[in-house]
């Protein structure tokens, strides 16, 4: 099977969907002539032309809102935010318009837009550029949220997101763009709302999303190597819809859960998952659900300190041991 990067997987997914559906357009700052700030769309302008691959001015509220309006009339815009952090400039368009339009119209309108871009810290770009908005996004009924942790999922989820009839916030990761894995050629879909058990285990469920999964897999290796602990690693892949069954089944098997994510702790996805487990699997638990997040402060710039602020293999390993005590 071909090994391709997360970046190439995203490009392949968008290209296949552009070829498949004349209503799909890719739009954003520097996506066309500059080939994308992170080169996700490299070569796409040359291949698909300026009608399908569109450079926008720096006007996030304007062009994201425009995408919402275009989606209402049946286009399937894929809107790139150069950094997902800039979603805050378009907050009203996303959370008042995209999220509510179907409801307020009594189901007369739907909004098949994808808003995508990197949503992560760890690259020393400071607090304004390092937001992780998955819990804020998923808070809003009407919005769907996906966070692929690897190239295979990135492609399959992107294709599903573009075909989805609801607004999808698709959170990528600059640190993962260059990471590669086996990805089959051609058509396959990863459905929204289906978690993936990345590693089977019996002693503890390490559940999470995004890049934290890559770290969790390494921590699980360490736990096995040093303590003969068999950790199960569950990648949610999508936050809303959320695969509650897979979460509960895993916890019922292992009786312990550590949730790992790069977000800040307050009202995080992990907080939601902990609540679901406590509601629906309380009797199976041998320990409180533990969460590992970024240290609760805006993203610090200082490169060595930012490393410490974020989840790391070492911190996950320690938190898992604490949960197993």
């Amino acid at each position: 099977m071909p090994v391709i990067t997360y970046r190439e997987a995203l490009r392949a997914a968008m290209s296949e969907e552009i070829e498949r559906d004349p209503n799909v357009v890719l739009m954003g700052e520097e996506v066309a002539q500059f080939n994308g700030a992170y080169k996700i769309s490299e070569g796409m302008l040359a291949k698909y032309g300026p009608k399908r691959i569109v450079d926008t001015p720096i006007s996030e509220a304007g062009f994201i809102g425009m995408g919402v309006g275009a989606a209402m009339l049946g286009l399937r815009p894929v809107m790139e935010l150069m950094f997902f952090s800039f979603y805050s400039v378009a907050f009203d368009q996303i959370f008042n318009n995209a999220a509510n339009i179907r409801y307020m119209s009594g189901g007369l309108i739907n909004c098949p837009i994808v808003i995508r871009g990197p949503a992560n810290g760890g690259t020393n770009v400071g607090a304004t550029h390092s937001h992780t908005p998955e819990s804020i996004a998923a808070y809003h009924p009407g919005i769907k949220v996906v966070v692929p942790s690897n190239a295979y999922d990135a492609k399959g989820l992107m294709k599903s997101a573009i075909r989805d009839n609801d607004p999808v916030m698709f959170l990528e990761n600059t640190i993962l763009y260059g990471e590669a894995c086996e990805v089959p050629d051609g058509e396959y879909l990863v459905p929204l709302g289906k978690a993936s058990v990345m590693r089977a285990g019996t002693d503890i469920s390490i559940i999470g999303h995004g890049r934290s999964i890559q770290l969790a897999l390494k921590a699980a290796d360490l736990l096995k190597e040093k303590h003969n602990i068999n950790a199960e690693v569950v990648d949610l892949r999508s936050i809303r819809p959320l695969d509650v069954d897979t979460i509960l089944n895993s916890v019922k098997k292992t009786s312990r859960c550590l949730y790992v994510e790069e977000s800040k702790p307050f009202c995080s996805v992990g907080a939601m998952v902990a609540c679901l487990i406590s509601d629906q699997a309380f009797d199976y638990l041998d320990a409180p659900v533990k969460r590992l997040t970024s240290i609760d402060a805006p993203a610090i710039y200082s490169p060595p300190l930012e490393k410490l602020q974020l989840p790391s293999v070492e911190r996950i390993y320690q938190a898992a041991l604490d949960t197993l005590k």
Partner: protein
């Protein structure tokens, strides 16, 4: 030159109009980097604000531009050595704007800018040590290593950052002006932005607020022709960026000679006077050019050609142009030029050593400077948990 709507009652005075395309590309790139002539578009030396400048003041303007350039060249080296993380946006080529604008500031005048902030910071008197240490993420940095190159601040010098979100600083600048007016101070705020920033809604909302409430704010567009890889004509509709002010009944002007520190002083000085005397806002579009990529990570090979950069450098380099003019009037000598240059290089080198030798913040520092109340526990009035695990 400067349109004063309050005087003309809606009739605009003539402005500088200019070729809307990015700087004309000369077909044959000039090999020499230094202009042969002083290349002043009009003789800004004769403007009242400049005529009274003493020799020392002119030398200081020149020195400040040299210091910015040498500091940034040293930053670039450190970045290439892996000492600086994230982004590094260099101001090289635009020095005349920060220096010209800040040179007319009085005690109650304030500035705010975007992420390309090294020039403004040095121009208001911030030290190279604290700036370089910030780039290195050290605790001795101006923001204790928390903000990085894009997020310098020094309220004690009326410098309010250093902002990473394009256009996000403009409402803040408008708010600084509001506070000045509210407090009855005779001051103004210069709110700097790039040519790409003018298309953010927040900028337009600020224009309206400033005009509606007669706020003493000067919106300064540093038009270097590009927002990242997008040329101005590919991002902005309308005849010019500054002219959008007309829609709000605001004063506006285009400064074509943005490379000329004295021209910048002249025009900004007029806008500042309008803000001080009549509490009127203005939009100034200053034509300039950046020599380096958008940030150091930008390979700068796709959206413009080297000839365009060389053409600008060879005729309009702000340092060379001013240097030639000062040499001609014998304010500068070749010895003094050399001395200024050496001392700027040494200062930059020292700052790199200072940054290198400084410690990083501690793990505990991550949670400091988040809440005023946590940093001032004796004065805390709220109760309950502010931080979570």
């Amino acid at each position: 030159m400067f349109a004063d709507l309050s005087l003309n009652n809606g009739t605009l005075a003539p402005h500088y109009y200019f070729n809307l395309k990015a700087f004309p590309v000369t077909k044959k790139p000039s090999s020499s980097k230094k202009p042969e002539v002083t290349n002043l578009g009009y003789d800004a030396r004769q403007a009242p604000i400049n005529i009274k400048l003493g020799q020392d003041e002119k030398i200081a303007l020149y020195r400040d531009m040299v210091r910015i350039r040498r500091f940034e060249e040293r930053c670039l080296r450190s970045y290439q050595q892996g000492k600086i993380g994230g982004f590094l946006h260099l101001y090289i080529g635009q020095e005349s704007i920060a220096v010209g604008c800040t040179s007319v500031m009085g005690k109650d005048d304030h500035i705010i800018t975007a992420y390309r902030d090294h020039g403004h910071a040095l121009a208001v008197g911030m030290g190279m040590n604290e700036m370089m240490a910030e780039n290195y993420g050290k605790v001795t940095g101006c923001s204790k290593g928390k903000g990085g190159s894009m997020h310098y601040f020094d309220p004690s010098r009326n410098f309010w950052g250093g902002h990473g979100i394009v256009g996000g600083q403009i409402p803040l600048g408008t708010g600084l002006a509001y506070a000045l007016k509210y407090k009855g101070l005779k001051g103004a705020c210069m709110a700097f932005m790039g040519d790409g920033s003018v298309n953010q809604g927040a900028v337009h909302e600020s224009y309206n607020l400033a005009a509606l409430w007669s706020l003493p704010v000067i919106f300064i567009i540093e038009n270097n022709g590009y927002s990242m890889g997008t040329s101005q004509e590919r991002s902005s509709a309308g005849p010019s960026l500054a002219q959008r002010a007309e829609g709000y009944g605001m004063n506006w002007a285009i400064i074509e000679d943005g490379h000329d520190v004295l021209a910048v002083r002249d025009q900004v000085g007029q806008a500042l006077k309008l803000a001080h005397d009549k509490s009127l806002p203005s939009v100034l579009e200053i034509r300039t050019y950046r020599y380096r990529g958008h940030s150091v990570a930008d390979p700068d090979t796709t959206y413009r050609d080297k000839a365009e950069i060389e053409a600008y450098k060879s005729t309009k380099d702000p340092l060379s142009v001013f240097q030639l003019s000062l040499l001609a009037e014998q304010t500068l000598t070749t010895e003094l030029i050399q001395k200024i240059d050496e001392s700027a290089r040494a200062e930059a080198e020292t700052s790199a050593q200072f940054a290198e030798a400084s410690p990083y913040p501690s793990l505990e520092d991550i949670k400091k400077d988040v809440y005023w109340e946590i940093d001032n526990p004796a004065d805390r009035k709220s109760v309950g948990a502010l931080f979570f695990d």
